[in-house]
Every structure is written in structure tokens, then in C-alpha cells.
Amino acid sequence: MLPYIVKRVLGMIPSLIIISFITFFVIQLPPGDFVTSVQSQVASSGGGMDATTVEALRVRYGLDQPQVVQYWRWIKGFPTGDFGYSLEWSAPVWDVIATRMGWTLLLSGLALVFMWVVSIPIGVYSATHQYSIGDNIFSFLGFLGLSIPDFLLSLIWLVVGTLVLGIPAYGLFSPEMADAPWSLAKFLDLLKHLWAPVIIMGIIGTAELIRIMRGSLLDVLNQQYVTTARAKGLHEKKVIKKYAVRMAINPLISVLGMQIPKMISSSIIVGLVLSIPTVGPIFLRSLISQDMYLAGVILLFMAVMLLVSNLLADLVLAWIDPRIRYE
């Protein structure tokens, strides 16, 4: 197992380099740079900037250097935890995104857990009761879940929660708790705010996983070894659990790698609508204001997260499936 892990981790390095390169390129795409966008801001508020100030700003931020140099200056600090400087926030990028990254990961993680906990039992039920009423209902709900975009769900929740149920449907904390020190009450308050966004983020994924689980389990149930297990005299429940579900779960793990980036994408939109401090809102802002290092680091982080989650999915697969492990 260890050589496999080492091999896979080393294999990620070229991808990382290419990704950082593309990220930098993409961030540089917009015409003009941060200084031009500052300029236009100043201009719109009635002020003006003379050419020397503009030039001085450019030099200060290193924007006058060739692209390769700028790329190098940006990238070289990464191994030491220096992710550059946010021009807009006038603070190190890391300080700007650290806590938001934390919330993003927490929400995504919880949504992931929600998806798995809900989808596996339903998928198993649907497959073992194929074409039953229950299966049909779940299939329909699954389709529905698959089709309702997360922003719509957030909007619905905002309206229904606030206007119908009369509970605060946005933010992470009630206003009075926001600045309070950590306590049990604050934690409970957090939970009260947290569950809805978690479900909203998880719903599309849940619907997807149910479908995958159902299909995969139906496949596996037709396999000869399931009949073998039955012919042995095993209880049907055990046959399903030990032989069918255990094998059918493999494709779920392979999509795990795909689910995590989707969660992150979703956290951007849900965060924006429900005013939750994920990286989403500042990512959008940094893109618009061309705060390139901030936007770049966030994009890069997301790409790395995708790489890492794919790696994790592969490792889990290798861990549970000996055929992959020994290849």
C-alpha cells in the first residue's frame, strides 16, 4: 500500500505545476490589472490619479514585471505558507481566507456526510425493492433533487424559513451571538443555522448518489458471487450487506473525488445567498475587482482540493478493493 501512496503523491506534482500555471494564466486574462480597477474606482468617485502614482502603485505591487517573473514571485512562497498579498484587503491572502476556508471545508464536509448517510440506505432500499412503490417515489424525488439548482433551493429556504417558519434562515449565527465568545449556547446557535445550508448543498449530490448506488447494486445483485453467497445458506440480509453493498459501493467512492469540488462550487453560491462566510463571496468579489493573488489562490486551492480528494478516493478504493491494491 505504501509504495502505491508514494507513487500517487509524486504523480500529483506535475499536475500541480500545470494547474498553478493555468490558474495564473486565467487570473491574468482580464484586460488591465488591479491598479486599473482601483483607478476606475477612484474615477467613479470623482477623483483622479496621476500617471506617476499609477506607476508607483504598479511597481509596488510588482505589476510592472514580466508575467513569468510575477508568476515566480507568486508561486515561490507557497511551500513556506506565503500565499501572496491581497491588494484589495491589504493583508496576506492567507489571513483573508483562512477562517473562510475553514467554514467552507466544514460545510462541505458535513454536506458530504449527509449525502452518504442518506443516500446509501435509500439506494439499497430502491435496488432491493426494484420497481416497488417506494422505489418509484425515491426515484422521482431523486430526479427532483437532481433538477433543483442549489441557488433556487437557497432562495426558497430563505423565503420559507423567514416568512413561513419565522426562523433566521441566513448567516451562521444569530446577530447577538456573532461576536460572543465560544460557549455551548453559541455552538447550539451555530447548529441551528448550519443544518439547512448543509442539506441544501448536499441535495443534488444525494440524488446523484442514490442513483449510482441503486444502479450499481442492481448490477452487483446479478453477479454470480451473490448467488454463490445465497447458495451457501447465508441470510439474505447478510448477502446484501457483505457481498452486494460492499461491492456496489466502489463507484460511490470513485465519484467522491468529483463530489468534493461540487460541494465547493455549491458553497460559493449557497454562501452568497445565505450570507455565510465561505470563500464564495470573496472569490466573486476578488474576481470582479481583479484582486488577482486572492482569486488565484482560491482557485488554486479548489483545484488542489479536487486533486487531493481524487487521490483520497483512489486510496480508499485501493484500501477496500484488493484488486486495485496489488496492481
Binding site: 453477479q223 454470480q224 458471487y225 448467488t227 454463490t228 453467497a229 445465497r230 447458495a231 451457501k232 445458506g233 447465508l234 441470510h235 439474505e236 457481498y243 460492499r246 461491492m247 477496500i320 478493493d321 484488493p322 484488486r323 496489488y326
Partner: protein
């Protein structure tokens, strides 16, 4: 059917099984009768779609319950410690009773050695599971027995910790056999156990089955389309066509002196090895009818070279006659 008093281990009487598919009803079995003595081998032979595999799966009630219905007939099986046979056709396929028989008193091996063992558990795991399910033993003892069984099927002991995908087809079929025999069943159902294997490996497995049969004194229900395999293995043989047994009897009787036009046609279709006369094969014309079609009268009359002689295309299925003791044939020509 004279010998009904005889203590057969397994007696199947007029078994009828229908499949309810989206396209319609497939009459998989339309009255199958068989019997098998303790310690003997019964060969069940026929072309694809004749229902031989369905018969085998019906005995252990392994057919998908929603799709397949046993419409009638009995499957009488004599359990080890009881005088009265039980009717497996009436047993709930999810019940404890059938589960205590599966793998314990009746074991089964399958056609596809590549997929009949779960790929993610070791061979030992899967054998030990069967042992611990039916015998009151500790895991250590179960592992001991598993290793003994592997030795009995001429596999190395360390195969116990191997995953199935590391074994060849022949080795897997051996491991499968070890698992099937681990609880000393009185009946082994072998569903095309060598079809996917090469002849030299097939010879190994057949040899193995025969020696294990002697050692464990078990009966074997051997299902195959290969008449040669039957000739080598079986004591009795039943020839199936379209869900019915058309001829049965001792192997010498059926293969040496075939009576039913279908059996005769099958034998005439086979090139005989070492036969230097270079005769032309005399095949059965046409092919097996569509499984959804309902064939009335003798199932074979559509392809029979002597057909329509005595109205075998009527409504009635020809009844069974016994021209010589133990040799049964279902054909109007022998009335």
C-alpha cells in the same frame, strides 16, 4: 416411476416453473420429473434454453422470487436426519429451513469460475464463512477445515489467504468446489462446472469431482450441454428439451440405445472422435423455438424427422413410457 418406494435422495415430480418477463411468460419448466439416488451421479443434458439450469436453481430456490414462480410440482429432498422427505417447492425461499439446507446438505458450483467468488474477500474467508454458518466451530477450527478442504481439492494451503482474482479459472473452480464440499453435503449440484474451462483443465476438475464423490459419498446432479462429460461422469442421465425431460435412464441405456428422436438427433449431430469412416453428420433441422412461444403437444415435433406420425402435434404432451426397465421416454412412437 415404478421405483417410487425406493429411497431416493432427491425426487422431482412434474415441476412447472414460469418466468414473468416484460415480453410475456416464459415457460421454463413444463413438468420435469427426476430422481437421484444417494451417492450417484445424475446428468442433466440439453441444449441452451432447455431449462436444465432453471431446474438446478429451483432445487435450492435460488431463482428470483418476483420473476419466477413455481407453478406446480414437488421437489422432495431427504434430509440427513429425517425419514420423511421435505418438499422444497413449498418452502419459503427466504426461510431458515432452506438456508439450513443450502451449502449444508445441498451445495452448488457454477459455470463461471471467474465470477462465482467475490473478488474482495480471500478464498479462506469465503470458505470459512460457509463452515461457520453450518457447523458450531471456532474461527480457528474453521480455518483449519478450510485449509484441509483446499488440500482435498489439490490446492496449496496458502491459497487460503489469496484473493480469487489471483487464481486461474481452474484453481477458482477448485476453490469453489472446496467451499461447496466444506460442510459435507449429501447432494452437489454442478451447473456446467467445466464449460468455461479448457479440456485439460476440465479433465482435472472432472477427475477431482469423481474422487471427491467417492470420498464424501455424495450424490451429484451434473448439468451440462456436453454429452461427453455426461458419458464420463454420470450413472443416470436425463435429456431435456424445451422444459421437459424427453428421455431418461441409465447412462448405458440412453447413450448406447437412445430412443427419443431428439436424443438420437443429438448423438447423430456429434462428430465422433477417432471415427475414421468420415461419415456425414446428420443434424437436427431447424432450431429451438422462441422461448415466449407456447409449443403444444410433443415439444420436439417441430423439428422431428418423423413428426406427425401419430398426432404428436396435438394438444396433449405425450406420456412417459418405459420400454425397458429404468429407461423412460416421452414419445408417441413407443406407445
Amino acid at each position: 416411476m415404478k421405483n417410487e418406494e425406493k429411497n431416493y435422495l432427491l425426487t422431482i415430480k412434474d415441476l412447472v416453473v414460469h418466468f414473468h418477463t416484460l415480453e410475456g411468460i416464459v415457460r421454463a419448466l413444463e413438468g420435469v420429473s427426476l430422481h437421484l439416488e444417494q451417492g450417484k451421479t445424475l446428468g442433466l443434458v440439453g441444449e441452451s434454453g432447455c431449462g436444465k439450469s432453471v431446474t438446478a436453481h429451483s432445487i435450492l430456490r435460488l431463482l428470483p422470487p418476483k420473476l419466477c414462480k413455481i407453478k406446480g410440482g414437488e421437489i422432495l429432498f431427504r434430509q440427513r436426519d429425517s425419514a420423511e422427505p421435505i418438499d422444497l417447492a413449498k418452502v419459503d425461499p427466504q426461510s431458515d429451513l432452506i438456508r439450513s439446507i443450502r451449502g449444508h446438505e445441498i451445495a452448488m458450483i457454477f459455470q463461471e469460475p471467474m465470477t462465482s467468488l467475490a473478488p474482495i474477500y480471500t478464498v479462506g474467508d469465503q470458505i470459512m464463512e460457509a463452515i461457520m454458518l453450518h457447523r458450531q466451530v471456532s474461527p480457528e477450527q474453521a480455518r483449519e477445515s478450510a485449509m484441509e478442504m483446499l488440500k482435498a481439492v489439490a490446492l496449496a494451503e496458502n491459497v487460503v489467504d489469496e484473493y480469487p482474482y489471483r487464481l486461474s479459472g481452474g484453481q477458482r473452480q477448485r476453490a469453489m468446489t472446496a467451499m461447496a464440499l466444506s460442510c459435507n453435503p449429501s447432494l452437489l449440484i454442478a451447473d456446467e462446472p467445466t464449460t468455461a474451462l479448457d479440456v485439460t483443465i476440465q479433465a482435472q476438475i472432472l477427475e477431482l469431482l469423481m474422487s471427491l464423490q467417492k470420498e464424501f459419498n455424495m450424490a451429484i446432479l451434473m448439468i451440462t450441454h456436453n454429452l461427453g462429460v455426461i458419458a464420463e461422469m454420470a450413472d443416470e442421465v436425463a435429456v431435456m428439451y424445451l422444459g421437459r425431460v424427453v428421455e431418461s435412464g441409465a447412462i448405458e441405456q440412453v447413450l448406447g440405445n437412445p430412443l427419443h428422436p431428439y436424443t438420437i438427433g443429438l448423438l447423430k449431430s456429434l462428430p465422433k472422435m477417432g471415427d475414421q469412416t468420415n461419415r456425414r453428420l446428420a443434424p437436427i433441422p431447424g432450431s429451438v423455438p422462441d422461448p415466449l412461444a407456447k409449443v403444444e403437444g410433443c415439444p420436439f415435433h417441430l423439428r422431428c424427422p418423423v413428426y406427425k406420425q401419430k398426432g404428436c402435434d396435438g394438444k396433449e404432451l405425450p406420456s412417459v413410457v418405459e420400454p425397458e426397465p429404468g429407461h423412460l421416454v416421452r414419445c408417441v412412437l413407443y406407445y
